[in-house]
């Protein structure tokens, strides 16, 4: 475990005393920049960025997100599988499925020329 710290100490000892602080500072900066780039890239690639409502311009989205569902959907993995258990599962299942119907299904028509008023000739002036 002490091999790496020892090697770092050895390497630092080889550097002339007047440069040690500069090299240490440079290495620290490089490592910090690399880790920051890595963290930011993970933030972008993982999809967190696309769902981050704290970004500017997402105030409206924040109000449209349903508050955390407090309903109990937990179904026990143990116990008998009788009529009562089946009914309990079906009720919770239907409730959850029903909730998806309240949300858009990313209708492709929302980006059509008509929706974006891109084929509205009335606003075109003389060419």
């Amino acid at each position: 475990m002490r091999v790496i710290p020892n090697k770092v100490t050895e390497s630092m000892d080889r550097i002339p005393a007047k440069w040690q602080f500069v090299v240490f500072l440079g290495a620290t900066l490089i490592i910090t920049i690399a880790l920051t780039i890595l963290a930011y890239s993970l933030y972008l690639i993982s999809g967190t960025a696309q769902l981050d409502l704290s970004r500017p311009g997402y105030k409206q989205a924040l109000s449209e997100v349903s508050p955390t569902d407090t309903d109990n959907y937990d179904f026990s993995a143990t116990g008998d599988l009788d009529r009562k258990a089946l009914d309990e599962f079906k009720n919770k299942y239907d409730t959850l499925i029903g909730k998806t119907k309240g949300y858009s299904a990313f209708d492709p028509g929302a980006l059509s020329d008509e929706q974006l008023n891109l084929n509205d000739t009335s606003v075109i002036g003389p060419q």
Binding site: G47, A61, Y73, F75, A85, Y93, I97, F106, I124
Partner: protein, 182 residues
């Protein structure tokens, strides 16, 4: 004497650069199919209606992210808190859970596709909003066409998720009939 620290310094620099370059996201290449090409009249229309279109797009982007979060929560609850424990319980009671498990895998896979395709769609949408449609209407329309395709993929994922969920419902109903018939 001072060569080794310099070498270490260079290695660290190379490492930092490699990490930076490798982790920069690769943006989707722009496709140029016929549907994304526009004539001069259409370009003029886009220029004229640019501000209005961008305002509609901004509202849509905001609605979409809320929809993605809301739908995502429902699918996660469905899979983790309801379906997975139910499948375990079916197995624990010595009933055949293979069909249920197979359908559950299909739902999980479609949910993963939905999440990944949404990321591509959101990236494409952000690029679309960053382009100035007044100065570059052709570039704007090309990106709009890409974003439409990405949105269509997300819509297909939801349709397929719904189909898999319907299949699970059917399998559950068959199991229920067989259990209650005993």
């Amino acid at each position: 004497m001072t060569r080794k620290p310099i070498r270490h310094f260079l290695i660290l620099t190379m490492f930092a650069l490699t990490v930076g370059l490798v982790s920069v996201p690769v943006w989707a290449a722009e496709t140029t199919d016929e549907s994304s090409e526009i004539n001069d009249t259409q370009a003029q229309q886009i220029r004229q209606n640019c501000k209005q279109a961008q305002s509609v797009l901004q509202r849509l982007q905001s609605t979409d992210v809320a929809t993605r979060i809301n739908r995502g929560r429902i699918y996660e609850n469905l899979l983790n808190r309801l379906i997975a424990p139910f499948n375990s319980r079916v197995g624990a009671n010595r009933y055949d859970a293979s069909t249920l498990t197979g359908t559950t895998s299909a739902i999980s896979q479609k949910f993963i596709d939905f999440k990944n395709d949404y990321i591509s769609y959101a990236d494409s949408f952000s690029s679309l909003l960053s382009i100035n449609c007044e100065s570059d209407p052709r570039g704007f329309y090309r990106l709009l066409t890409n974003t439409r395709s990405a949105r269509e993929r997300v819509a297909n994922d939801i349709a397929e998720l719904n189909t898999s969920i319907d299949r699970y419902t059917d399998t559950f109903m068959m199991l229920r009939t067989s259990i209650e018939g005993r």
